[in-house]
């Protein structure tokens, strides 16, 4: 599809990206870096550092104030309407609070990842092809939740809900997965299950994964590369081979302001 994108080009690039919220808060300050295809990138930083903001500029859930965000060599600012929805469909997103529709079944939540492939009227009537229903089942198999397919989402534990959310993202057949503190409300065991799932998708399917994490330990365990934000600025950027715990701790040092 993307004639201009070659395998060696970065899948995402930030070029002098600034984000100032309407109330004057600085979200991002002159962000510059590239993310190669297939990387497992972890973003760390204090609360309020701008991690969520950074992630959401990639799929245009947030608009940037100046600069450029490129996905597959195309500036995302140019998209609107249908082309914006097509951009979003190749980028899966995972949230801290899972963001499932709690009163709907697991199957319906997973199928909802597909809606951008269908015309609106078919979505409204729930007319998904038999093939796609099979794919929903397969997506649940990949996150080891086939038994729960007809359960209501609010009957599941937090870890299970997050895996349903991952299955939903898988239905999009994404090239990129953005995960905003996906494990912040989970216990250690389910944390491992969720992080392992993301790692598998990265290694087996070659999906580029970008995860915001608070835990330096987890970051070191899963990342290919770690970037650190402080007050909207990129203050740390190292491949995992060069990451030292001392240098990482520096990211968490507060200036006098906070």
């Amino acid at each position: 599809m993307q004639a201009t994108a070659s395998q060696s080009d970065p899948i995402i690039s930030f070029r002098h990206v600034n984000k100032i919220y309407n109330n004057g808060t600085v979200g991002l300050k002159d962000i510059n870096f590239d993310i190669p295809r297939g990387q497992f990138l972890v973003v760390v930083g204090l609360s309020g550092a701008g991690k969520s903001t950074l992630l959401r500029t990639i799929n245009r859930m947030h608009e940037i104030s100046s600069g450029e965000v490129l996905v597959d060599n195309e500036s995302v600012s140019a998209y609107k309407g249908k082309s914006l929805r097509q951009l979003r469909r190749k980028i899966g997103m995972i949230f801290q609070n899972f963001n499932l529709v709690k009163r709907s079944t697991v199957e319906k939540n997973v199928l909802s990842g597909l809606v951008s492939y269908y015309p609106t009227w078919k979505c409204v009537l729930g007319l998904f092809s038999a093939d796609d229903r099979k794919r929903a089942f397969q997506a649940l198999t990949r996150v080891s939740l086939t038994k729960k397919i007809f359960a209501r989402a609010d009957e599941l534990s937090g870890g299970q809900q997050q895996r349903v959310a991952i299955a939903r993202a898988l239905m999009q057949e994404p090239k990129i997965i953005l995960a905003d503190e996906p494990i912040a409300s989970l216990d250690p065991r389910t944390t491992k299950a969720v992080m392992d799932t993301l790692q598998r998708l990265n290694r087996e399917d070659g999906i580029t994964v970008i995860v915001n994490l608070h835990s330096v330990e987890l970051a070191q365990q899963y990342a290919d590369r770690i970037v650190g934000l402080r007050a909207g600025e990129l203050v740390y950027d190292e491949d995992i081979a060069n990451v030292t715990t001392e240098a990482l701790d520096h990211v968490y040092q507060t200036d006098s302001e906070v």
Binding site: N59, M61, L84, R85, Q86, L87, R88, R89, I91, G92, M93, F95, N97, F98, N99, L100, V101, K102, R103, S104, K108, S112, G113, L114, V115, S116, T120, C123, V124, A165, R168, A169, Q172
Partner: protein, 264 residues
């Protein structure tokens, strides 16, 4: 251990000054208003025996009249259901447009809310009078009146429900590339549906009661019979109508209360 001395009540509290003053003011206001409106308290007392006559007659409902009023009672219920359904159906798109968490354009939202406020200020009796004039005596006028009345009421209840939903699923649907309508269908409706149905039933209860009164203005249903019996001083028939209506209202209330409890 010594406790501080309990404070004395102030003089005015000890002698209930406030209560006495308010009672006096109320009595004076009542006297003034009855004088101003020309209400004659003497006449009220003199005609009290008329009231006794009415009560005596009403204590003997005309049971055989039931067969006559079954049909109009049924019509009343149909009017209420139809009117509520039409009103609620129109309320759904309007409440979506009026909800601040779905529509960020505050001018559009303001306009929609203004229209809804306007509709709500129209009294149902006025609407009934107008539509009886337009459509003639019959249940059409009743259905249209109830539809508009329910529309105004339900829209407000609906958009207030929408404004309390969890926005997370909407964000997720937006991130998968869903269109606006798909977002509403997948992420909003499942969250509000139960409360919508509950408010629909609640409005239906009100409408069953309201439609008996509307019928009085000629808008069809049991109210027409109520008016006729009163005009003919046939109070035992009136009693029968009131009794039957009471039973219907109680049954509808009971069923809808039960359903709402199951839903929520």
């Amino acid at each position: 251990m010594s406790y501080p001395e309990m404070p004395q009540r102030p003089w005015s509290q000890r002698h209930h000054v406030r209560a006495i003053v308010w009672t006096l003011v109320l009595i004076i206001l009542l006297a003034l208003s009855s004088w101003a409106t020309g209400a004659d308290f003497g006449m009220f007392l003199a005609n009290l025996d008329q009231f006794t006559v009415l009560l005596v007659q009403m204590a003997h409902p005309a049971w055989d009249y039931l067969s006559v009023i079954i049909q109009p009672l049924y019509e009343t219920i149909q009017m209420a259901i139809l009117g509520t359904t039409i009103g609620a159906a129109f309320a759904i798109p309007f409440s979506i447009l009026a909800a601040h968490n779905l529509v960020s354009n505050k001018y559009l939202r303001g306009l929609i809310r203004f229209v809804l406020d306007l509709v709500r200020t129209l009294p149902d009796l006025l609407l009934a009078a107008i539509f009886v004039a337009v459509f003639g005596i019959g249940s059409t006028a009743g259905v249209v009146t109830l539809a508009i009345f329910s529309f105004g009421m339900v829209s407000k209840l609906f958009y207030e429900v929408i404004e309390t939903i969890d926005m997370g699923p909407l964000e997720a649907m937006k991130s998968v590339g869903a269109s606006k309508i798909t977002i509403i269908w997948y992420a909003v409706l499942p969250q509000v549906l139960n409360q919508f149905v509950s408010y629909f039933l609640y409005t239906l209860e009100i409408n069953v009661r309201a439609s008996t009164v509307l019928g009085y203005l000629g808008a069809g249903g049991i109210g027409v019979y109520l008016q006729r019996s009163l005009d003919q001083f046939n109070y035992s028939a009136t009693a029968m109508i009131i009794l039957a209506t009471l039973v219907v209202v109680m049954v509808i209330d009971g069923v809808s209360n039960h359903l709402r409890r199951v839903l929520l």
